[in-house]
């Protein structure tokens, strides 16, 4: 727990109320989807934290909460010491300049009716960066060149549908960089791209960390990509962190049963021997509606025992410089 982290998230929670039918109103019952439930972590500059999990685990919602595209229903987020939840108007706008996001679908990253130049200039105009058009164009040109998107003028004159997926995603990252943010959320930026084109994006993010000291939350469902890019990995299940720690510690020595299952089911490429003995977990991911107390993975966990069904496990430090939320690791002294 360092003293003034760039980002400090405490018990973050996000519940989506389900549409109430007349029946529910009468019975006073309200259903809610527990998308994100008491997530806590910290981030420094020049660091990439990967959020890894299957669909519905809340990783995307968490990312959107961090840049205030969603309103948290609980807990708080401190960005550079400043509480993000209460930000409105001008303060919110200056926060947005320092915390940016790139999305999964590169083909829809830009307004189809505007040329890329117009979209990039708009980003600068929103925050009044650069005194005049010329200065703005210089800024754009320099960031474009740094991302290897040359000849710059040719790209700026194009419409979004005249670009390949890889190029669109790189220009989307350029747009974010124009605001010189300190923090970036990358929400599955490569999962819609062909494998051969992903390297450019991943390397672009690595260079932002190394050269610009950027703090990046990288969201993915692919552990191999997480291993390549992240310094730390957090595995999420049904809205909660189940294991978080240095990338190699999580990949090579997973402790939480779900993390082990996720790793063992990640398909090897070529003749690599499988990572861990296959942990066979049955059933499907349950829907996170009206979640009962106890460990949410209990229903599918091969090592479940009675305490798991009663008490929700908290993230506890384990040997390997990791935090794991599982009763196997926080046994009361026998």
């Amino acid at each position: 727990m360092s003293e003034n982290p760039l980002l400090d998230v405490r018990d973050l929670q996000c519940l989506f109320p389900l549409r109430k039918g007349l029946g529910d109103l009468a019975r006073g019952k309200s259903h809610a989807v527990h998308a994100v439930d008491t997530v806590s972590f910290q981030m420094q500059r020049s660091e990439i934290l990967a959020l890894v999990g299957e669909s519905g685990c809340g990783k995307s919602t968490t990312g959107r909460l961090l840049v205030k595209l969603e309103e948290a229903t609980g807990g708080n987020i401190r960005f550079d010491g400043e509480e993000v939840g209460s930000l409105r108007g001008k303060e919110l706008k200056s926060f947005r300049r320092r915390a940016q996001i790139i999305f999964q679908n590169p083909f829809e990253a830009f307004d189809p009716r505007l040329t890329l130049g117009a979209s990039l200039r708009q980003a600068l105009r929103i925050h009044g960066i650069g005194k005049n058009q010329a200065e703005r164009d210089d800024r754009i040109a320099s960031v474009m060149e740094r991302s290897g998107l040359t000849p710059v003028q040719d790209f700026l004159a194009r419409y979004p549908h005249e670009l390949s997926g890889g190029q669109s995603q790189r220009i989307a990252t350029v747009r974010a960089m124009l605001l010189e943010p300190d923090f970036l959320v990358a929400d599955e930026p490569v999962s819609m791209l062909d494998v051969s084109v992903r390297a450019d994006i991943l390397n672009q993010l690595l260079d932002l960390r190394d050269r610009d000291g950027m703090a990046i939350v990288f969201i993915t469902h692919d552990l191999s990509v997480a291993r390549y890019i992240a310094d730390r990995i957090a595995v999420m299940y049904l809205g909660m962190f189940v294991e978080i720690g240095p990338a190699d510690a999580v990949i090579e020595r997973p402790q939480h049963p779900y993390a082990q299952a996720l790793l063992s089911h990640t398909l090897p490429v070529g003749d690599e021997e499988p990572v861990a003995a296959p942990v066979d977990i049955g059933g499907e991911v349950p829907t996170p509606v009206d979640v009962q107390p106890g460990c949410r993975f209990a229903g599918r966990c091969p090592f479940v025992f009675d305490r798991c069904r009663m008490e929700t496990p908290q993230l506890k430090a384990t040997s390997d410089d990791k935090l794991v939320a599982c009763h196997l690791f926080d046994q009361p002294p026998a």
């Binding site: 919110l92 706008k93 947005r96 999964q104 829809e108 990253a109 830009f110 740094r146 747009r175």
Partner: protein, 300 residues
């Protein structure tokens, strides 16, 4: 400057984009729709007649004196005269002006109101959406014609009133379409990105969501113009049209009693309505053909 980030050479551009100009990109599929150009041709003729009404019939539609109910082509009257001896062609061309103005003005009112209500309801959601959607449903459900009759009967049947009233009762379909478009566009990546960049709500709504969402409403607008013309004709037929304007509906009403002996008095204005309204439908069909995915290339 720092050497380029990527170890390999600059990204190779896909082959230079052969970019069709925006107009040609619209025109090529529009012509391919076959129905579109026919409709456009019809509308151009009708518009010409309306514009040149002063030239075609310098004395205006109500000039009396000619013999009553003479057939088309007789005594210099290309399309004959009505029961008061007024020239049919003159009334038709001046009637075209009324129909086109009412159609265009009513449709633009309904398009404007529909876009504003639909986009605001779709974008802001919550109770705003609830109230506006109930309002839309109400107008959608009540029989518009009866409401128009009531309002015109109470407030007056000048052409201005008629246009505004038809416009103010035709907007729900556009509102519903625009709301659906806004709801889907609001979740699209480029709108989320603009929100994250700090762009203001209203500017996102009116500079990005409306321009991208309005295309299907344009195709729908042609249907609104057509129905406005039909409604106005109905009003005139039952005597609620603008009394001092020559309207096709009134011509049909006037010629009703003598239809067996002088068929042209009622039949010709009817055909004029059909041709004009058909023209708008066909143009609408052409526009929606341009917008539909079918006309795009098959990839993969």
């Amino acid at each position: 400057m720092a050497e380029s980030l990527l170890t390999n050479e600059a990204a190779v551009l896909p082959t230079a984009p052969r970019r069709e100009s925006r107009i040609r990109a619209f025109w090529r599929p529009f012509v391919a729709s076959r129905m579109g150009p026919i409709g456009l041709g019809i509308l151009i003729c009708v518009a010409l007649c309306a514009l040149l009404a002063g030239v075609i019939a310098p004395d205006g539609p109500f000039k009396l004196g000619a013999p009553r109910l003479i057939g088309p082509g007789e005594q210099g009257h290309l399309l004959g005269t009505d029961h008061l001896g007024r020239d049919m062609l003159a009334q038709l061309v001046y009637g075209a002006r009324v129909s086109l103005t009412i159609g265009l003005v009513a449709a633009s009112i309904s398009l404007f109101v529909g876009v504003v209500i639909g986009s605001v309801a779709g974008y802001f959601g919550g109770w705003v959406d609830l109230v506006l959607s109930r309002l839309t449903d109400m107008f959608l459900i009540i029989p518009a014609f009866f409401l128009i009759i009531v309002v015109v009967a109470t407030l007056g049947s000048g052409i201005g009133y008629v246009m505004v009233v038809i416009g103010l009762t035709a907007w729900p379909t556009s509102a519903r379409l625009m709301r659906a478009q806004t709801l889907s566009l609001r979740e699209r990546t480029f709108i989320q990105a603009l929100r994250a960049l700090g762009e203001s709500g209203p500017r996102i709504l009116f500079r990005h969501i409306v321009p991208n969402g309005i295309q299907p409403l344009i195709a729908n607008a042609s249907l609104d113009i057509a129905s406005a013309i039909l409604i106005e004709a109905g009003l005139s037929f039952i005597g609620l049209g603008d009394p001092n304007k020559a309207t096709w509906g009134r011509m049909i009403f006037d010629g009703r009693t003598t239809i067996l002996t002088a068929w042209w008095a009622s039949v010709l204005p009817g055909i004029a309505i059909i041709v004009t309204v058909l023209g708008f439908y066909l143009v609408g069909d052409g526009i929606s053909y341009v917008l539909s995915p079918r006309s795009r290339k098959v990839s993969k």
